[in-house]
């Protein structure tokens, strides 16, 4: 088990460092590139937890699509080449810090409350749980109604975006 612990901490520290980089970067493109490291780290954590399918979905959706759209949008509109010290800052630092601390507190309390003392013992038979087949089965059998609700929500968002962007 200790190998997993070591790997977890290496990845976690890298992720935290990159996350700080995202908020501290003086250039939007750099911030987006730091975000890639954070997402790649969380994909690696999924693999450590045997959730292989979710890990590669994370790579395809978050890195392959969302980050690309971020970069695409930033470069299409501004593409800043120089550091923009001060420009990316605003006066809500204190409020942001309070919200971040609050969120951290809530998550920490709930996670400790739910999982304190539980130890995951990985066995070969558990690989099945993270496979595409079992994920698909639980989405399309057990949780099919929430899934459909989410897809309706996304469709509504899509239609709304098109309606907002239309100029005629």
């Amino acid at each position: 088990m200790w190998e997993q612990q070591v790997a977890f901490w290496i990845i976690a520290v890298a992720m935290a460092g990159a996350a700080i980089g995202v908020v501290r970067a003086n250039n939007v493109v750099h911030a987006a590139l730091f975000l890639i490291v954070v997402f790649a780290g969380s994909a690696a954590q999924y693999i450590l937890l045997l959730a292989e399918f979710v890990a590669w979905v994370q790579v395809l959706i978050y890195i392959g699509a969302i980050i690309v759209l971020f970069l695409f949008g930033v470069m299409l509109t501004r593409a800043p080449m120089r550091e923009e010290r001060g420009k990316l800052d605003n006066s809500q630092r204190l409020a942001a810090a309070v919200v971040a601390l609050f969120l951290f507190g809530v998550l920490a309390v709930f996670l400790v409350d739910a999982f304190a003392g539980t130890e995951l013992r990985f066995r070969d038979s558990m690989v099945e749980v993270g496979s595409a087949a079992s994920v698909g089965e639980s989405i399309f059998r057990q949780f099919v109604i929430p899934f459909e609700v989410v897809s309706m929500l996304l469709l509504a968002a899509l239609v709304g975006a098109v309606a907002l962007a239309r100029r005629d």
Binding site: V29, L60, V68, A79
Partner: protein
């Protein structure tokens, strides 16, 4: 992958050595594949098709020295970096593209046991990591501090987003038929399935998924930014697009990434639609030995089709290119998916 070959020779190797050998083989495959495609298609086939005499000359016999000369030229060139460039991002971009190519090769089986890692979700993984190259291209386009490079990067990103969907849809048809996402499993399924009871040569999916095969080839062509989808690198207007500022070794990285990815996509297409490393009536140890050769032959066939289109079609305009993806290929892919699913349920 070589573990098996070596074990049949009576040599036992450990886990670490096996990993080292696997990594080394993949690292060699990328430049080797790029060289083979560059030599056979870019130099020989294109020269014949377009009556170019230059590449026939160097070294005497059929211009065999041309690519070696090109390589020597690249190594000698000065390593330039534009004045306003973002140095770290500029230097990292070619590496990102090449790493994405490297990662794709990990799941391509060259024989029943000759695969680095036979992932349960092989095809999905391959498409996920191949989409990472867009980030390298955007990094290169932006960090060059050059309008043409930025335009090229943006065009490449817009094009890769648009053609990622038909690519996935084409693959899903195969996955539905095979009932697995593992590339090895797809090869075995093609060997064992039958077409309406005829199991003489199994069921190479090019026969039952012909529409999917065409969509895959077209979308792969666009992913590789090859003509007719080469707006991002259009020489006559963008002087080279996102890699316009790259010289010497860094440009060589992009070149290897491009042709290495072409090699990888041909291998994936050969595996998904032409039966991969398998031949009818061949199995067991023999399949492990001749598997790489069979896969290579099929891969070259697919690559021939892709480069044939590249050398003969004119370039599409940006709006034509986007409309073709969103208004034609994606609906066609969805229809193909529907029909495949219906047949799967009905038979």
């Amino acid at each position: 992958m070589n573990a098996v070959a070596l074990t049949t020779l009576g040599i036992e190797i450990g886990w670490g050595a096996a990993l080292a050998i696997k990594t080394l083989v993949i690292l060699l495959i990328i430049p080797a594949g790029a060289l083979i495609l560059g030599y056979v298609f870019l130099l020989k086939m294109m020269s014949h098709m377009q009556s170019r005499l230059g590449p026939m000359d160097p070294g005497g016999f059929h211009g065999w020295f041309q690519l070696i000369g090109d390589g020597l030229k690249f190594v000698q060139k000065e390593d330039l970096m534009p004045d306003g460039a973002d140095r770290k991002v500029f230097a990292g971009a070619p590496a990102v593209v090449l790493i994405s190519t490297f990662l794709v090769f990990l799941v391509i089986p060259m024989g029943p046991d000759l695969v680095v890692k036979d992932l349960d979700i092989g095809v999905f993984y391959a498409l996920a990591v191949s989409s990472l190259s867009v980030i390298g291209i955007l990094m290169a386009g932006w960090s060059s501090a050059n309008k043409y490079a930025l335009l090229g990067g943006l065009r490449a990103a817009g094009q890769l987003i648009a053609y990622e969907l038909p690519l996935l849809l084409a693959v899903i048809g195969v996955v539905i038929q095979a009932g697995t996402m593992s590339l090895n499993g797809i090869v075995v399924a093609q060997q064992q399935q039958s077409i309406f009871g005829i199991d003489w040569i199994g069921n190479p999916y090019i026969l039952t998924q012909f529409v999917g095969f065409l969509i895959f080839l077209i979308a792969a062509q666009a992913e590789l930014t090859q003509t007719p989808f080469d707006m991002p690198v259009a020489e006559s207007e963008l002087v080279g697009g996102y890699h316009v500022e790259y010289t010497g070794f860094r440009f060589l990285f992009f070149f290897m990434g491009e042709y290495g990815t072409a090699f990888a996509f041909s291998a994936i297409a050969a595996t998904l639609f032409l039966g991969g490393y398998a031949l009818p009536w061949v199995d067991g140890d023999l399949a492990n030995w001749i598997g790489p050769l069979v896969l290579f032959a099929k891969l070259m066939l697919v690559a021939f089709l892709m480069f044939w289109a590249r050398f003969t079609f004119p370039r599409l305009r940006e709006d034509q290119l986007q409309a073709f993806a969103w208004k034609f290929l994606i609906p066609l892919g969805l229809a193909n998916l529907l029909v495949t699913a219906l047949f799967k349920v009905a038979f």
